[in-house]
């Protein structure tokens, strides 16, 4: 099964950063340069056997992709922290990597599940009620609905206000619905791909996606009715 999210690259990507860092011994450096030539699965075996320094090579290879996934799921201020959680979880559960799927698929799944866990925790500890959409966000909605042509489509999308409205809308959803909506409707993954990443059944993802879309539709309808011109 092809899982997207920007992981379509060879697993033998040469590492650009020194394997063990400059301060380590020469013998380990030799091992490090050797690790750079190994596949992900071979490095995983090395780490599980106790050569934990080899893990840095995996970080180097997959850091950009993990940041890309995490950056699309959690607020910018939390990206580094969540990305670190992803790699620490990967390190502590490397023994469960079965090699049936490529390492980057396994890591992508771990990244998505960590983001889902982030939102579950965030919602659990949320003390303040969900806020109303800011004035800037409301103005953006009004502007989008009144602009006729798609000429400024990209400018509209790139606007900070668009992100404000998007975050506001996603904040109204449960962590489950938020994650599924992000994967299926915003990222464009198939139900099967989203289910594989989350480790849920396809039926569960389908039901959640349907509910999330209905909820989003209600939210957008409210915005459109409130701010849109007839």
């Amino acid at each position: 099964m092809a899982v997207r999210l920007g992981f379509g690259y060879a697993s033998r990507t040469p590492a650009s950063v020194s394997f063990l860092g400059g301060s380590r011994g020469g013998r380990e450096d030799v091992a490090g340069s050797m690790a750079q030539a190994l596949t992900d699965a071979e490095i995983v075996r090395l780490v599980v056997e106790g050569k934990t320094d080899a893990f840095e090579t995996l970080v180097t290879r997959h850091q950009a992709q993990v940041f890309k996934i995490v950056g699309r799921h959690v607020p910018r201020a939390q990206v580094e922290e969540v990305a670190q959680d992803v790699f620490v979880r990967a390190f502590t559960s490397l023994a469960t990597f079965s090699e049936r799927a490529p390492f980057h698929h396994w890591l992508a799944s771990l990244a998505v599940r960590t983001c889902y866990g982030f939102w579950r925790e965030a919602y659990r500890s949320r003390e303040t009620p969900m806020s109303a959409l800011s004035e800037e966000g409301q103005k953006w909605v009004e502007h989008v609905l009144t602009v006729q042509a798609d000429r400024s489509f990209h400018q509209q999308a790139a606007a900070q206000e668009a992100q404000t409205v998007l975050h506001w809308a996603l904040d109204q959803l449960s962590p489950e619905n938020r994650t599924v909506l992000t994967l299926v409707y915003l990222e464009g993954l198939s139900v099967r791909e989203a289910a594989a990443l989350l480790g849920w059944s396809q039926v569960n993802v389908k039901v959640r996606a349907h509910r999330a879309r209905l909820r989003l539709r209600t939210l957008l309808l409210g915005l459109a009715e409130e701010r849109g011109t007839p």
């Binding site: 599980v48 934990t52 950056g71 699309r72 489509f153």
Partner: protein, 110 residues
Amino acid sequence: MKPSNPAREEKIRKLFEHLQAAHRSRPAPEAGPSWRAGLMRAVSRSRPSERPAAGSFPLDRLVWRTAMAASLVACLLVGYLLAQPESADLVASLLFDDPAETLVASLSDL
């Protein structure tokens, strides 16, 4: 879901497409200069879990793998018992909380 008002549906579609584009236009963040060092410190404090020994099979996985078959067998067994005319008294005693004598008598009949 049947679109009732085309103008309203168009507004929703337009907003959704813009939000989708906004999501996709989010730039991929990059790690700060000290991020890698912090990560490797956190990693050095953790320990990787050990790979299960060859041939070993975790009990929890066994339970989940056999759950469906076990449920099916249980359903078939219940269906078979309910279909037996001799078990009617037994079922009635179980459902309607008959005295223990009825239950014992039914069991002895079976």
